[in-house]
Symmetry: C2
C-alpha cells in the first residue's frame, strides 16, 4: 500500500530532478562566465554532483547546452508525416514554420525572452556549440528524408536531395533571426521581416533558383 498512484517511482523522479539540476546549474554558469571559461568540474560542484555522475547524464560538455534543442531534431519529419492527406509536404512545412514564427517558437530564432536570447548568443559565439548543433541537422535530414521517401512517393535519393535543401534553408532562416535578436532587435520588430524571408525561402524551394539560371542572374 506504499503507492496508490502509478507514478514513475522515486528512482525515476530523482533522476529527472538530477538531470534538470545539472542542466540548469550548467547554463547558469555558462551564461554568466562563458562556455569555455567554466569547467565541467565547476558545473558538477554547483549541481552538487560528482564529475563522474555528470558524465553519466550528459555524454559531453556541449550537450549540457544543446540537449535543449534535441527535441526538434525530428520535427520536420513529423510535420511531413502528420500533414493532412490533401496537403503537399512543402506546403505543410511552410505553414508550420510560419505558425512557429507567429507563436515566437524558439526554434525559429524569433523569441526574445532574455534567457532565450542569451542562449542564442552563447551558442552562436561558441564554435564548439555550433559544431554540436550540426549533428542535429544531420539527424533532421535523415528524419525528413525518410518521411518524404515514405509518404511523398519519391525515390530515396530525390528525398534526400530535397531534405538537405529544406533543412539547410530552415537553418539559414533560424540563424538569421537569432543573429538579429542577439544583436538587440525585438521579436515584434523583426516579425514582418522574418515572415517575408520565410516566404521568399519557400518560394525558392518550390520554384528553384530560376533567377540564377540566367547569365546576369536576375
Amino acid at each position: 500500500m506504499a503507492s496508490v498512484t502509478s507514478e514513475p517511482g522515486l528512482r525515476e523522479r530523482k533522476k529527472q530532478r538530477t538531470h534538470t539540476a545539472i542542466s540548469e546549474a550548467a547554463i547558469e554558469l555558462f551564461l554568466r562566465h562563458g562556455f569555455d571559461q567554466v569547467s565541467v568540474s565547476q558545473v558538477a560542484e554547483a549541481a552538487e554532483v560528482s564529475r563522474r555522475t555528470l558524465f553519466a547524464y550528459f555524454p559531453a560538455k556541449e550537450d549540457l547546452v544543446v540537449h535543449r534543442f534535441a527535441d526538434h531534431e525530428a520535427e520536420a519529419g513529423r510535420v511531413v508525416r502528420d500533414r493532412p492527406a490533401d496537403m503537399a509536404p512543402l506546403e505543410a512545412l511552410r505553414v508550420h514554420y510560419l505558425d512557429g514564427l507567429a507563436r515566437r517558437d524558439p526554434v525559429t530564432g524569433l523569441n526574445d525572452l532574455p534567457a532565450i536570447v542569451a542562449l542564442y548568443r552563447m551558442v552562436l559565439e561558441t564554435p564548439a556549440l555550433v559544431a554540436r548543433m550540426y549533428r542535429f541537422q544531420a539527424g533532421a535530414e535523415q528524419e525528413l528524408t525518410d518521411a518524404l521517401h515514405e509518404t511523398a512517393g519519391v525515390g530515396e535519393f530525390a528525398a534526400r536531395l530535397a531534405a538537405v535543401q529544406i533543412v539547410a534553408v530552415h537553418w539559414t532562416l533560424t540563424l538569421d533571426n537569432a543573429r538579429r535578436l542577439a544583436a538587440g532587435e525585438a521579436a515584434d520588430e523583426r516579425y514582418a521581416g522574418a515572415v517575408s524571408e520565410a516566404e521568399q525561402a519557400y518560394a525558392l524551394l518550390a520554384n528553384g533558383l530560376g533567377r540564377l539560371g540566367a547569365p546576369g542572374g536576375a
Copy 2:
C-alpha cells in the same frame, strides 16, 4: 650572392618539408591503425618532430587529415566568379561538377585510387573528422554567397539561400559517391550513376521541388 634565384629561401622550404612530413606520417599511421587509435605523440615521433611543433603546424589533430580538403573550400565561389559572361552561375557549377566527375576529381568522391578510397573511408567512419569537414561547408557557403551576391545581381539573403542549397546538394552528391566507392564499387562502374544523380540534383536546384508541391508528391 648566396642565392641567385628568387626561391623561397631555406627557412620556407624547410617549413614546407616539415609540414608534409608531419601530414604524411600522420595519414600513414591513421590509415594503418585508425584515427582514434593513434595519438598525436605517436605522429610527432614518427615525423621526428616534437609534439609542440606538430601543434604549431596543425591547430588540431583532425586537421592532420582534413587540411587536404581545405583547398576546395573556395572552389564553388571561384567557379561562379570565373564563369564566362554569358553563362548562368548554376550552369557554370553544373558544368564544372560534371567535368570533375569525368576527370575523377577526388572532390567529387569519384576517385578510386586505393589511397584516396582509404582516406574517404576513414573520414566517413570517424565522427570527429566528419564534424571537422562541416567547417569547410560553412566556408564554402560564405564564399559562394559572396560570389553570387557580387556577380549575379541578387540580394545577399537570396544569395545565401541559394548558396546553402547548392553546397548542401554538392555535399550530398559527393558523400553518395564516396560511400559507394568506400563500399567497393569501382569509379568507372559508378560513373554513369554519378552523372545521372548530378543531373537530377541540378535539375532540382534549377526547377525547385515542384514534385513535392503536390499532395501525393509526384
